[in-house]
Symmetry: C2
Subunit: 402 residues, 2 copies
Amino acid sequence: MALIVQKFGGSSVADAKRIQNVASIIAETYRAGNDVVVVVSAQGDTTDDLIAKAYEINKRPAAREMDQLLTAGEQISISLLAMAVEGFGLPVISLLGWQAGFHTNSVYGAARIKNIKTNRLRAEISKHNIVIVAGFQGINRYDDLTTLGRGGSDTSAVAIAAQLHADKCQIFTDVEGVYTADPRKVKNALKLSEITYDEMLELATLGAQVLNNRSVEMAKKYSVKLEVLSSLTKSSGTIVKEKINMEKMLIRGVTKDTDVALISVVGLDDNPGVAFKIFSVLAQKNINVDIILQSVGRDGTKDLTFTVSKDNGVVAIETLGNLSVLENTKITCTTGVAKVSIVGAGMESHPGTASTMFEALYAQNINIKMISTSEIKISVIIDAEEADRAVAAVHNAFLPND
Amino acid sequence: MALIVQKFGGSSVADAKRIQNVASIIAETYRAGNDVVVVVSAQGDTTDDLIAKAYEINKRPAAREMDQLLTAGEQISISLLAMAVEGFGLPVISLLGWQAGFHTNSVYGAARIKNIKTNRLRAEISKHNIVIVAGFQGINRYDDLTTLGRGGSDTSAVAIAAQLHADKCQIFTDVEGVYTADPRKVKNALKLSEITYDEMLELATLGAQVLNNRSVEMAKKYSVKLEVLSSLTKSSGTIVKEKINMEKMLIRGVTKDTDVALISVVGLDDNPGVAFKIFSVLAQKNINVDIILQSVGRDGTKDLTFTVSKDNGVVAIETLGNLSVLENTKITCTTGVAKVSIVGAGMESHPGTASTMFEALYAQNINIKMISTSEIKISVIIDAEEADRAVAAVHNAFLPND
C-alpha cells in the first residue's frame, strides 16, 4: 500500500462541479488501495476577494489579522471537498493547517514551516481516513494563525510528503505537466515526461509558474518525488526527481520572464568595495538581484548593470541614490525588457549550446543586451516586444518540430 | 473601569459600512475608559450561503464538516472588524472561538459550552487590547471545531460576560429593545425599559426573536446584566435582570408564533402509560412538545392533542405511526395554526387576566382551539390567519393606546 499526497490548486476547486471532479480523482486513488492525503488551496478567487474586503475597510491592515482572515479561504474549500468525498461513500476528514500540525514562525503573510507535528495526520491515516488538509496555513507559538505566502499550498503538500515519507506527491494544475515552452505561445512545445529538481528550479524561477519554487527546493532537500499533472485530463504528467534518464533533448525548456527591470550605474569610481556596498544595501532592502554585468567605462570608471523584478525597480533606484559612493554616477532604470532562458542539465557537456541560442536570435535580428550563464541555464536580456518571437526561434533551434 | 461585553449580530456587520459603524460604537465605549470584549456573528447571509454551498455538494453532509465549514463565517467577520477598529487607532486583536478558550462537547451543530479557558482573553484585556471574539463556535476534546447552533453568538457573549464577571453584556440588534408586541405589526407597541429574565425567557420561547433562549437562561443562572439595544440608533434599550421595579403594566408583551404544528391522536385506549410511551419516543427523537391537551373521547377512549414545531411535524407522525399502542388510533397533523401569548410576571396575582384575553378574542369572533397557562404566561392556539388580528386586539385590551 502506497501513501500518496495530492495537491489541488484554487482553480481545481473553484465550484461545486470541479470539487466533485477532484473528489472523483481522490476516490479513484484511494480505491486503488492507496492511503491518500490531499492538500487544497482556497477556491478560485476567494483569497483575492478577501484581500479586497480587507482593503475596503483598512488600507494597511495588521498582518496578523490579514492571516486570520485569509485562512478562512482554505477552511471553506477543505470542508466542501470532504463533503464531496463523503458523497462517494468514503471515510474522510478535513484538517485545518494547525489541526494537521503545521507549526510556523511568526512572519505573518510569509511564514516558514518550523515543523509538522504529524500525530493527528498519522492517526487519521491509520484509521484509513482520506485526509483533506488546508494548504498555505499554519500556527505560530502564540496560537495565532499564519500563512505561508502565495504558492504556499505547494509547499504544504511537499512538506507533508517529506514528513510522512510519502511515495509520491502529485501536484494537480490546469496544465498537463511541464513543457519545453509555454504551450499557449509555442505550438511545437513538448511535454516533458521527467525533469530534475535543478532544472525545475530554474524553470520555476524563470517564470514557468507551474510549481512554487520553495516547494521544489524542499522536494529536492527531502528527495520527495513530485508529479505535475492536470486535474482535468487523465494523461500522465511530468515527474520531478533527482536524476532522470537523459533523453535525446539537450535542453528542457525555453522560458520568458517579462517581470524584469534593468538598473544601470554609469561612471563608478574604479575602487575596491563599490560592488559590495551596492549589493549589500539592496540585500538589506530584501531586493533580489538577478543578472549582474560589469564593464569598463570611460576615463577609468566602471559601468554596472543588473536586473531586479519590476516591483523593486523604484526602491532600488531610491536606495542607491542615497549611497555616498554613487554621488557622481548616473543611475537609470529601464523596463520594457524581458529575460529569455534555456534550461537543461545536459547543456554543460555541450559547448555549442550557447552559440546555437545566439545564432537563432541573430537570425531573427534580435539584439542581446545582457547574457548570463550557469551550469544548466543560459539567459539573455532582450527587448520585451521581441520576447515571444525569441522564444519560438530558440525553441525551434533546439526542439524542431518533426 | 468597567468591563463591557458587546455582541453584534450578522446584520450589524453585513458590509464594510456597517462594520465601520460597529467599530465606532466599540471605539466610543473603549475611549470612555472601559475594557471591551466584542462577540460577533458571521456577516449577513454568510452562514446561509455556506450551507447552500454544502448542500449543493452533498445533501447530507457530515455534521463535523458542516461545523468546519460554518466557523469560517465568523473568522471572516472578526478579522474584518478588528481591521476596522485598528483604523480608529486603537489596540485590538481578533480571537477565534478556540483561541478565546471556548471548549464544548462534541454535538456538532448544537454543541454546549463546557468551559471557557480565559487565560488568553484575560491576557489580552490586561494589555488593554479590545478583543473581538468569534461567536457561535468552539472546540471539542478532539481539537475539532464545533458550533453552538443558531443564535449561538448570544450564548457566547453571555458566557464570556459570566466567566469574566463583566459589568454588562450589551446585545446589539436591529430593534431598539424589547417591545410589548412586534412594533412592525402593532402600532401602539411599547418599548420596555426593563424586563425580568423569566419574562424574557417566555418572550424568547414564544418567538419574539430578540434574544436566543439559551443565552437568557445562562444570563439568569450567572446573574449577567443584559441590555438589548440597537446598533443603528443611540437610544437606550431594554435591561434584562432578575428583579425589576414593577411598572403599572400587568403584562409585558403579546407575541405570536406561527411555527406550530398540531398533532392529534384520536381513539387512544384508556390505559395507564400511554401518554408516557408517546412522549418518551418523541423525546428520544429530540422533538420538543409544547402545549398538551387530553380529553375524553367516545366509547371510553381518550383523545390527545399537542403542538410541536413545524419542522418536527412529519417526524412526529412517523414516529407515532410505528408505536404499537397507537395501532387503532387516528393520527393527524394540522398546520395553519398560530400560538398567541401574553407574558407578564404581574399576572399571577391578577385573576382576571385570562378572562380579559379571552374576551378580547371573543369580541373579534376568534375561535380558541387550545389553551395553556403558566404563572407568567397564557397561550392560545388559533387559526394562523387570525393571529395578527388577535395580537392587536389582545394588546389593545391590556395596553390601550393613550
